[in-house]
């Protein structure tokens, strides 16, 4: 199993450009998450999904949109990139089976630089 994979690994955008980050998991997990990691701030939840076709806002959702059209994929979109969105983005997934006990599994991250 590949686990959680993310595409691309690195991207440079100009302010105002749009892009989509792709997350894929092959563990048949119901839950998927998008986080951003910034120095000195730990990881902050952007959006999450509890199942195919459903999404919800996390702690810092502004400027991002998400879609979960297939169970194994979770897309994060930036419609008009801003320098404040320069960050490392991590996708994660977890199983619903064990309720609160489920462990999140993380992808390798996407490094985004917005100029």
């Amino acid at each position: 199993n590949a686990g959680v994979t993310q595409t691309p690994k690195f991207r440079v955008l100009k302010t105002g450009q749009s892009m989509t980050l792709l997350c894929a998991q092959d563990m048949n997990h119901e839950y998927m998450y998008w986080y951003r990691q910034d120095p000195g701030m730990g990881l902050r939840l952007i959006h999450y999904s509890v199942g195919e076709g459903t999404t919800a806002k996390g702690e810092v959702p502004d400027g991002y949109n998400v879609s979960r059209l297939k169970k194994q994929n979770f897309l994060l979109g930036l419609e008009s990139a801003a320098p404040s969105q320069t960050s490392v983005y991590f996708c994660a997934s977890s199983s619903r089976d064990r309720g609160f006990q489920e462990t999140q599994y993380f992808g390798p991250g996407t490094r985004l630089l917005v100029l």
Binding site: V4, Y31, Y33, G40, M41, G42, L43, R44, L45, Y48, S49, V50, A56, G58, F90, A92, S94, R96, F100, Q101, E102, T103, Q104, Y105, F106, G107, P108, G109
Partner: protein
Amino acid sequence: AQSVAQPEDQVNVAEGNPLTVKCTYSVSGNPYLFWYVQYPNRGLQFLLKYITGDNLVKGSYGFEAEFNKSQTSFHLKKPSALVSDSALYFCAVRLLTGTASKLTFGTGTRLQVTL
């Protein structure tokens, strides 16, 4: 509001010595606590978790953590540090709202193990 705090930005330890990475939490009700490790340019990897039961939790790579309810702490420990343990360590608490396992992360502690 539920939160975790990691009071040390960096911990320096000599190889072979015991190590402790501190974490305190603030939650309503029973906490679900996690430790993750992040190696350079990699995603987060699960180390261990406390759900209920024995206050001493054993995890991967020889790490363990002690849950202390009276001190609201969940410190990560290892009896003998290795240079390969050098990484960024995150404590996290499970938010007790909603269905998905939304985690709140601390700001991270960088562990540096030297020869």
